[in-house]
């Protein structure tokens, strides 16, 4: 039965209280451990079509008569368009339409960052459109950019008011401490750089609009486009069968969708607007830079007495204030915690969610400093973490729905023990060491989400839901859940997704939420179908007959099951946990770093597909290694324009940068969470990687790195500082 409840909705650490209608989740959870299909390795159901190049991505779409778009983006970080003349562009060969500032709200003449869209041209080929862009006459008034985040905070140029959170009395906690460590940590701007750039193809059909788009949120696009164009939601059809990566950057419709919609309307043709890689590196969001000024106080036995952080998120021109302070409040049991979180508004491109936004950055600072504390107290870093383990969420005094972090620590022990042997493999110039860091993050998902299951007389089932698989393997997971519940082989299940006109509402693929949001709905739908099949079997007098035998009599009749995602447990905090242990080698003369091995143990409740889960962990760690060692968006310090817009300059990890990765999952269902007990795994693996590597570097060399990426320059700086410190000690 549908039930109206007041609940807290969370996406990536942002909460809001909402009234929602939820359906009861009447199913008992399956027993823990591997079942017939769920909990066992399954190959990706859409692996072949992707591998063979048959899958049609938005980038591959070519509709009859389709026009192509080139977008003029501000080349300046801060400027105003004094005047603009599109007439020459409109007259250029192949051009069908051109639009400029204020033709639609997404095209502006006040430019707060390099990359903001100003004008757009569509033509019969991309080449013609791009050539026409060069013919646009415009006159820029270039202004002084504000680039320094601290200065922005001082000048009150902020995205929102500073957020101050305190529990206990942090000053008292510091005063009571036997030891206080402090440090300033900085993290860089990191770009998502999904392989498929942001793009959409838009076509007006009758009184509605079809939007083919590379997106993480079909239904969000539907609502955003409907609102933006003043259409009823059911007149907007959003399609995304395959998409080439998102990592948080493809949650919204952005400028290109509305540009394509307007140009399609003006021309009466389907219009594609696809960003180039260079546009992708300025105009579609990024993980923002942070400055973190942290203090940790502890008793000599290791008990934390105070955690204090002043955080500045260098948000950029727009975006939101990611919870960089989150780990400080949730990771450890500490009575006195205080943080201030500033969101600096500066003339750099906007932030967007990027795989565990805030927590990746905040964990680097906090977990690095925790290890500095361990060194100062001469305590084992693992022991220090155990001493301060939080058995409930102290930030708002709620129990966790489940938490197996101590089990993660236990399973990490053999990897942590390797440090003695690893260190012995150091040489005069190459030092080896081992470091660890804990992971905490969201990932519980939530309602609403719906699925239908259709069973035919051939004994095959189709799961129908308008969700998206952004590459994480959720399509496979849904097929597994339906097959398990129906008791049929996995290859008898097809999943139909990717089209808002062909299935019910499905959750966003962000915040590690697809599996925990959609999985329970799919299971409920399959259970509904199974119940009906059992009723038929009962009436037929063969209550124990296998499904295939019962449905064989259906002919063209079908069994239709429907299911909905039930509520999250009331009064409980649903989080994911884990720990990673990194082994590194550092060339102390050249600053070269090799990450040689990472062991990851995570707790995300029940695991649906262990094979896919391992891939997620490895992918998260590898992105984390890029974040830690080689990736950095640079801007010119004077003008604020971006210098790293191509993939030779913005350095994503290659296969040669990948260490040995050992991954393990606790695989213990969260008994309070839905009919599955599963949490999400998309984000957790990237959270602790940077800190684990930084801590391994300290173990190897004694150097405290304070900045990401740990470039040669930063590594050599930290080594020099460590030498000077030990030299100073020696002379004392």
């Amino acid at each position: 039965m549908a039930r109206l409840i007041r609940t807290e909705k969370e996406v990536e650490g942002r909460y809001e209280e909402v009234w929602i209608v939820v359906e009861e989740d009447a199913l008992d959870q399956w027993p823990a451990g591997p079942l017939k299909i769920v909990g066992r390795d399954a190959l990706r159901v859409d692996g072949y079509e992707r591998a063979r190049g048959e899958a049609v991505y938005t980038a591959d779409l070519e509709l009859p008569g389709m026009l192509h778009t080139a977008v003029l983006r501000s080349p300046h970080a801060h400027a105003r368009v004094r005047s603009i003349d599109l007439s020459k562009a409109l007259a250029a060969p192949g051009v069908h339409a051109a639009i400029g500032p204020r033709d639609i709200p997404q095209l502006v003449d006040e430019c707060g960052y390099q990359g903001v869209a100003v004008a757009a041209v569509c033509a019969d080929s991309y080449g013609h459109a791009r050539a026409a862009l060069a013919l646009i006459d415009f006159d820029w008034e270039v202004r002084e950019p504000l680039l320094d985040p601290d200065e922005a905070v001082a000048r009150k140029s902020t995205i929102a008011d500073a957020r101050v959170r305190e529990r206990g009395d942090a000053d008292k906690g510091l005063a009571e401490a036997d030891v206080v460590v402090e440090g300033e940590f900085r993290t860089q701007v990191v770009l998502h750089n999904s392989m498929e750039t942001h793009q959409a193809v838009v076509q007006w059909v009758g009184d509605g609009i079809d939007v083919y788009i590379s997106t993480q949120y079909i239904w969000g696009i539907r609502d955003e486009v409907a609102e933006g164009l003043g259409l009823p939601g059911d007149k907007v059809r959003v399609v995304c069968n395959y998409m080439g990566g998102g990592f948080g950057s493809k949650n919204g419709a952005d400028d290109y969708t509305f540009i394509a919609a307007e140009l399609a309307k003006r021309t009466g043709r389907p219009v594609k607007c696809a960003l180039t890689r260079r546009e992708e590196n300025v105009a579609v969001g990024n993980r923002n830079a942070t400055i973190q000024r942290l203090k940790v106080g502890a008793k000599s036995d290791g008990t934390l007495t105070a955690l204090v952080g002043e955080y500045v998120n260098a948000v950029g021109w727009s975006g939101w204030n990611a919870p960089t302070d989150g780990p400080l409040h949730t990771l450890y049991a500490c009575a006195n915690v205080r943080s201030t979180l500033h969101g600096a508004k500066i003339n750099t491109p906007p932030m967007k969610a990027f795989r565990a936004p805030g927590f990746v950055e905040g964990t680097f600072g906090l977990e690095s400093l925790i290890d500095e504390l361990a060194a100062k107290l001469d305590l084992d870093p693992l022991e220090l973490r155990r001493i301060n383990h939080a058995d409930h969420d102290a930030s708002d005094d709620r129990p966790f729905s489940s938490k197996n972090l101590l089990e993660c620590y236990r399973r990490a022990e053999p990897h942590w023990e390797r440090r003695h042997e690893v260190r012995t493999r150091s040489t005069e110039t190459v030092k080896r060491g081992v470091g660890m860091a804990s992971q905490i993050w969201y990932g519980g998902g939530g309602p609403p989400s719906y699925a239908w299951v259709r069973v035919g007389s051939d004994g095959r089932a189709t799961v129908v839901t308008a969700m998206q698989d952004i590459g994480t393997g959720t399509k496979t997971a849904m097929a597994m859940i339906a097959a398990e519940e129906l008791g049929i082989p996995l290859d008898h299940v097809t999943v139909s997704l990717g089209d808002s006109s062909r299935g019910p509402y499905a959750a966003i693929s962000a915040g590690s939420s697809t599996t925990p949001s959609m999985g329970p709905a799919v299971r409920a739908a399959a259970a509904d179908a199974r119940r009906q099949i059992e009723e038929i079997a009962e009436q037929r007098g063969t209550p124990d007959a296998p499904l295939a035998e019962v449905v064989a009599m259906l002919e063209d009749a079908q069994i239709l099951g429907k299911g909905a995602r039930g509520p999250n447990p009331t009064g409980m905090q649903v989080l994911t946990f884990g720990v990673q242990v990194a082994e590194v080698a550092v060339d102390i003369e050249t600053g070269e770093i090799w990450v040689e091995r990472i062991a990851a143990v995570h707790d995300v409740g029940r695991v649906i597909n262990p094979l896919g889960a391992r891939s997620q962990i490895e992918g998260g760690i590898i992105q984390g290694i890029g974040h830690t060692l080689s990736e950095e968006r640079l801007h010119d310090p004077r003008s604020g324009t971006i210098l790293t817009t191509t993939l030779d300059a913005y350095r994503l990890p290659t296969i040669a940068d990948v260490p040995e990765i050992h991954s393990e999952l606790v695989d213990e269902p969260d008994t309070h969470l839905t009919n599955l007990g599963s949490k999400g795994l998309g984000e957790p693996p990237i959270v602790p990687t940077a800190a684990a590597i930084a801590n391994a570097i300290r173990d190897a060399t004694g150097a405290d790195v304070r900045q990401l990426p740990i470039s040669r320059a930063e590594m050599l700086r930290a080594l020099k500082e460590a030498r000077e410190r030990s030299g100073a000690k020696a002379t004392v």
Binding site: G591, L643, T644, A649, T654, A656, A713, R717
Partner: protein, 268 residues
């Protein structure tokens, strides 16, 4: 635009020479280069190795596995660019590649583009030159050129033969070119005299597919050692022990340079 594919040197004529295309094609597409006529010179420039002479159209992929050539050159080829770029890119193309300076690549009106300012000097220059960087701080990215300079290789073009060092020049106020090639002059081959030992060491940001932060080639003939560098000056740099002049943001390169030179010498 037209494409000519001549089969003899006499037919080459005017136009922008194109071989592997790994540098010319992206620069054409980003508008840094332009041409009415492209000349695919792969049919006329020698490839392959004949004794100590390497055809200018030999690809880096061929050279990285060829046992006939000195170790420093092989290693410089092996650590250059990406596998596909090494498959496509030729020896001469590699020697003639432009800097990776982001200001130059993004078409800022810098001195190399004929303007009156080096934006890197006051701007973001962490990957830039630590020698000869007062006029233009761009760094020359060729690993292969450093190896050939250390090897004291000789270049033969359609009109002359000269030491590889003479292929390059520092840009100046009245001439912004960084090579000495005349219009229409094509590199045909490179002669690499034998040596007793040679080594190439490279510091880069990823384990593969990165341009050098610092590349050090060292070559020994008898008791004579010759060291040349990549990524530290606007041209491949013959190292004579003179003091580098780093910018505020790239002094870390000096430390890496010192370590790699020491190691390279020790390895000989």
């Amino acid at each position: 635009m037209e494409l000519k594919r001549p089969s003899s040197l006499a037919e080459v004529g005017d136009g922008l020479a194109l071989a592997g295309g790994t540098e010319v094609v992206p620069l054409l597409r980003s508008g840094i280069l332009s041409a009415d006529t492209l000349v695919d010179v792969r049919g006329v420039v020698p490839a392959g190795i004949d004794g100590t002479t390497i055809g200018a159209a030999a690809t880096l992929a061929e050279l990285e596995v060829d046992p006939q050539i000195p170790g420093a050159l092989r290693e410089a080829c092996r650590l250059a660019a990406s596998p596909q770029l090494r498959n496509m890119g030729t020896l001469a193309g590699n020697l003639l590649q432009s800097t990776r300076c982001w200001y130059w690549r993004l078409k800022w009106p810098c001195r190399l583009h004929g303007g009156d300012e080096c934006f890197a000097i006051e701007g973001e220059h962490r990957e830039h030159a630590i020698f000869a960087n007062d006029f233009c701080a761009s760094a020359h990215p060729s690993d292969v050129a450093a190896a050939l300079l250390a090897l004291d290789a000789t270049v033969t073009t359609t009109s002359r033969t000269f030491g590889i060092g003479e292929l390059y020049r520092l840009s100046t106020d009245d001439d912004r070119n960084t090579t000495t090639l005349e219009d229409g002059e094509l590199i045909l081959s490179v002669d690499v005299p034998p040596c007793d030992a040679s080594v190439y060491l490279k510091a880069m940001d990823r384990k593969r597919w990165s341009f050098p932060i610092v590349g050090v080639a060292a070559v020994r003939r008898g008791s004579e050692t010759r060291v040349a560098l990549a990524g530290v000056a606007p041209v491949p740099w013959l190292y004579d022990g003179s003091e580098p002049t780093p910018l505020p943001g790239n002094a870390y390169k000096v430390e890496i340079l010192d370590a790699l030179v020491r190691r390279a010498r020790a390895a000989l």
